[in-house]
């Protein structure tokens, strides 16, 4: 149980909306959210489909613990085929939208086809309607949010929507919910916009019940909340500094990719760190960080709520940006800061606001700007292409201008919206794109954290830290400390993280809980809530099944083993400083073993035995 056992299916082409029961056999195999939605997706969508074709589908899915009292149980995911990578896309978001979906009585919303005109989907419990959105098209996420709240006269509606970037075809556009929480990666917003859907607005008042054993569930969630509170990372580090607690740590380690990953340490790291967000600024004595905020049900509350210095050049004439909004998380701060060489905290915060306001992934955006900066410094692109912007590493002015253009899908911002792979290919320098499968890297240099190299190369959605966050083990020692520079044991480590993560991503819980929780903490909460047996072993097996299913989709979509690699820079150019000095990422030492352990051929295909072992659809 815990599932509502209901799916809302919306055919955008003909406007037909229907309810259907959740496939409970699949729920036992794939749990919910990421896994279960992927199972539906592979059943219903041809892997060769064009990501922006009406034949692609777009699923918003919750997990069985979404909307419950389990700490961090506020997640939902957007599952579709990515226009950026051509792989399965699964972008996870917090905020309050997922819980509202459950409260409205739905485990998933499947959007299919393409609406002839712009619309938004409004769901109030079991009533769902497509509402014309011509008036909202061309508006930002923030303006759309405001308009929809006004239209329905209900401040409690939860809204996920796309901004102008997605409308303009930006390939890394996000779906932003609750103003500043995002299903950020892989261009899921681009797909939603391609279907002429501006927003999904939800109001749910039915409540989330269906808990298998309520007393056991309440006891388990209570018990494990105490674990989060007592843990140094989830109980202190994250609430205080957010994920930005990592900026100085990773920089020290010589694993902070800098200036398009040419370097591994950033001299300005402190200025854009979590600690700096706590320092009073000169102009008004206020801190960048106003407070920490939690997503639905989260007792960690790592979210940053920040403001920009009103006297800062980026906002001094724009009072609409003087208030508080979602502040910098580590990955965003890294992409916008060290990777572009910019050390101006206010500029980064403002640009982060813009990313939320118009729905773009700050990681892909920052990394693409970094690639463009390298192209600019190499003279491949000039002010002629950039429209006069001196696109130099370290220029906060350039970053701000490019962000404004990209958010709105204007000028050179349209080229940035291609993502780094297509941009670098366009200008004949593909080797400058720091991507895997077309998706930009996050903030951990795999020369200094070897397991992350394997993580990036094998991630089912392109370069991503959230598919197996071995940083936990290799840097923080969670659950056990491993040597970040070693490759031995990393295939096993990566697989364990990938499987556990897939299970967590399918439960409704947040992956950040796993700084303190392992499946030993999580499985009992799932088991108390959900019918069936949800032992640690079963959760891990479900995670592995999900991983194999995603992989299988990608291979059908036309990817090959050759796509499981890293940019040459990381494989050939050694780190110039720090503990990893002289090292490259030794992917070759890890990948074959990984394939073997996964039960794949040397071409990276699932063997028939593997397919059978996990009961994958043929």
């Amino acid at each position: 149980m815990a599932w509502t056992k209901k799916i809302l299916r919306v055919n955008l082409t003909d406007g037909v909306i229907s309810a259907e029961p959740l496939n409970m056999e699949w729920a036992q195999q794939y749990l919910g959210q990421r896994g279960l939605a992927t199972r539906y997706f592979v059943e219903e969508v041809d892997a060769q489909v064009g990501a922006l074709s009406p034949d692609n589908k777009f699923i918003m899915a919750t997990g069985p613990l979404t909307g419950t009292m389990a700490s961090t149980g506020g997640r939902y995911s957007c599952i579709t085929k990515s226009p950026l990578t051509g792989t399965i896309a699964c972008s996870n978001s917090g905020g309050f939208f997922g819980a509202e979906m459950k409260n409205a009585g739905w485990d998933m919303i499947i959007l299919e086809g393409k609406s002839p005109t712009p619309v938004y989907l409004y769901v109030e419990n079991d009533q769902a309607r497509l509402i014309p959105a011509e008036d909202l098209w061309g508006k930002s996420v923030w303006a759309t949010d405001e308009e929809i709240h006004k239209k329905h006269q209900d401040p409690q509606i939860r809204i996920a929507c796309v901004g102008r970037a997605a409308e303009s075809g930006n390939l890394f556009a996000a779906v932003v919910n609750d103003l500043h929480r995002a299903a950020g990666r892989s261009g899921v917003g681009t797909v939603l916009a391609s279907k002429n859907v501006k927003a999904v607005a939800l109001r749910g008042t039915r409540g989330v019940g269906n808990i298998k054993d309520m007393k056991r569930f309440m006891d388990a969630t209570f018990e494990h909340k105490k674990v989060l509170a007592a843990n140094a990372v989830t109980g202190a580090g994250l609430p205080t500094y957010g994920t930005q607690v990592l900026m100085n740590v990773i920089n020290e380690l010589g694993a902070l990719p800098t200036r398009n990953m040419r370097e591994v340490r950033f001299e300005g790291a402190h200025s854009v760190s979590g600690e700096a967000m706590h320092e009073p600024r000169a102009s008004d004595g206020k801190k960048n960080l106003t407070r920490n905020g939690g997503c639905f049900g989260c007792t960690i509350a790592c979210g940053r709520i920040s403001s920009v210095d009103r006297t800062h050049f980026s906002v001094k004439d724009k009072p609409q940006y003087w208030g508080n909004s979602g502040g910098l998380e580590y990955e965003a701060a890294w992409a916008l800061g060290p990777d572009t060489g910019v050390d101006d905290l206010d500029a980064l915060t403002y640009v982060n606001f813009l990313c939320n306001e118009d729905g773009i992934d700050p990681i892909s955006f920052g990394a693409t700007v970094a690639a463009a900066m390298e192209l600019f410094e190499d003279g491949v692109i000039t002010t002629e292409q950039t429209g006069g912007i001196e696109l130099k590493f370290g220029s906060a002015e350039a970053l701000v201008k490019i962000a404004e253009l990209t958010a709105r899908g204007e000028g050179f911002g349209k080229e940035i919206g291609l993502g780094s792979k297509r941009l670098c290919e366009k200008y004949g320098r593909p080797e400058l794109s720091m991507t895997v499968k077309g998706q930009e890297f996050p903030a951990y240099d795999p020369r200094g954290i070897q397991g992350m190299g394997l993580t990036y190369a094998t991630s089912n959605r392109g370069a991503c830290h959230l598919r197996s966050y071995t940083v936990s083990s290799e840097v923080l020692g969670i659950p056990v400390k491993t040597d970040p520079l070693a490759t031995d044991g990393k295939p096993e480590l990566v697989i364990a993280f990938q499987d556990a993560t897939a299970a967590v991503d399918s439960s409704g819980l947040c992956i950040f809980s796993t700084f303190a929780w392992s499946l030993d903490n999580i499985a009992p909460q799932i088991d108390a809530a959900c019918e069936g047996d949800w032992s640690v072993e079963k959760c891990a097996e479900v995670g592995a099944r999900i991983w194999q299913l995603e992989r299988d989709f990608n291979m059908r979509a036309g990817l090959t083993a050759a796509d499981d690699t890293l940019p040459k820079r990381l494989l050939k150019d050694a780190a110039n400083v720090g503990p990893a000095e002289g090292k490259v990422c030794d992917l070759g030492a890890m990948l074959p073993k990984y394939y073997e352990l996964r039960g794949w051929t040397t071409e990276g295909q699932l063997t028939p035995e593997t397919r059978q072992r996990y009961g994958l659809p043929s």
């Binding site: 405001e146 709240h149 006004k150 239209k151 329905h152 006269q153 209900d154 401040p155 409690q156």
Partner: protein, 411 residues
């Protein structure tokens, strides 16, 4: 002290209880002329639906509440008051003395001067006796006309519809609840009722009623005549000022000062019969609503028993559930001269909000389809909250009133 209260509605009962709280030894007598324990007219519709038994309408539920409070209850009509010797005469001729007297005689349903309104098939819906009559006569399949789509009319609509009668509503104004809701929301209410299968005729009147065999023959202005089994008249109420007439100052109701005292120092008035102070206008008028009756009862009793409590005025407000669509009005919902207003209207979903401002203060509101935190609208009006920048926010999006309220509170 010997206190006598005439009227067993909320004003009378609250006054009696307040007096008891303030004076443990006083003699307190509560006189009502209906053959029932004190009950609430607000609850009658829920009795008509069958949600509650008759006892569910009673104002006080604890067994022997009035005996326990040592409040003597008399069920008799008061014939007249001899103010000079502080005495009153009951219908059975007996005499009762008092030191202080509270007139809380309430109001009664009136019938317009139309031929045939005294026929047996015509009833009001005001008292428990009326309710019994309706329950007996309005049954599934019966044809019923409800005259008047004011507050009372609307609140019994659902009960009548649920009883399965073929219902037609006749309202002389151009919309429903014209004295509570503005044109847009009153119009929406009408559309809502029609969607629920109720025939609503606005801007028309009943001209005459006569007997046609077993049925009533009802002639209408500008509409074809109808034959019905029952005609319920809910065209308005009027204060019961007869006992005061001639010797106390009266207008529409009994005139009182801010202590709820009449022009006779020992006689007070409260509730529907009193022209109390209106918070919003500062003028004196009959509001005829439950919360005002309660305030009156409390303040009058406090002053009768030696207290000094000046009534700042009651905020006129109403909340109404018309077949599941909830509407509310507060204060000067019609707006004020040189005021400003903000509206959001979503007719498709029957949601509507209108706020009326004077300067940076909220003075009135109408809402339709809202159930959450609406009391804060009263709070904002009654606190005369200076809204500051929230005035602009509310002008842009009036549905954010609770945030505006809270912002003032925690700022």
């Amino acid at each position: 002290m010997n206190y006598v209260i005439i009227g067993t509605g909320p004003a009378g009962v609250v006054a009696a209880e307040t007096l008891r709280q303030r004076e443990s030894t006083a003699a307190i007598t509560l006189i009502g002329d209906e053959p029932e324990p004190p009950y609430s007219r607000m609850a009658i519709p829920y009795h008509l639906i069958g949600d509650i038994a008759e006892e569910g309408t009673h104002l006080r539920k604890a067994p022997a509440h009035f005996e326990r409070e040592r409040i003597q209850c008399i069920q008799q009509h008061v014939s007249n008051i001899q103010v000079d010797n502080h005495q009153l005469t009951l219908a059975d001729g007996s005499q009762l003395g008092f030191d202080k007297l509270l007139l809380a005689t309430g109001s009664r349903a009136v019938r317009p001067p139309i031929p045939g309104m005294d026929l047996p098939g015509v009833t009001n819906c005001w008292t428990l006796a009326d309710a019994r009559r309706i329950i007996a006569k309005a049954n599934a399949g019966d044809d019923v006309i409800l005259m008047g789509a004011g507050f009372i009319g609307c609140i019994i609509l659902e009960a009548l519809a649920k009883r399965g009668v073929n219902l037609t509503v006749v309202e002389m104004e151009n919309r429903m609840v014209p004295r509570m809701m503005d044109e847009q929301s009153g119009g929406l209410l009408k559309r809502w009722c029609e969607q629920q299968g109720v025939r609503v005729l606005t801007s028309t009147k009943v001209k005459a009623v006569s007997v046609a065999g077993e049925k009533l023959y009802v002639e209408l202005e500008t509409q074809p005549a109808m034959q019905v089994d029952l005609l319920i008249c809910a065209t308005g109420v009027k204060p019961n000022i007869e006992l005061a007439k001639g010797w106390l100052q009266t207008r529409h109701g009994i005139l009182v000062n801010r202590r709820l005292q009449t022009n006779h120092p020992d006689i007070f008035a409260a509730g529907d019969v009193a022209e109390g102070r209106d918070f919003s206008t500062g003028d004196y008028s009959v509001q005829a609503i439950q919360p005002t009756a309660v305030e009156h009862g409390f303040i009058a009793a406090t002053n009768m028993s030696g207290g000094h409590y000046l009534h700042q005025g009651s905020v006129n407000m109403n909340v109404l559930d018309t077949m599941g669509l909830i509407s509310a009005s507060f204060g000067l919902w019609q707006g004020v001269e040189n005021g400003e207003s903000a509206t959001l209207n979503d007719p498709e979903h029957y949601r509507y909000i209108n706020l009326q401002f004077k300067g940076e203060r909220l003075v009135g509101a109408n809402t339709l389809g809202m159930t959450q935190h609406i009391g804060a609208l009263r709070g904002l009006i009654q606190n005369r909250t200076r809204l500051g920048k929230w005035k602009d926010y509310l002008m842009d999006n009036p549905s954010r009133f609770m945030e505006a309220y809270l912002q003032q509170r925690v700022a």
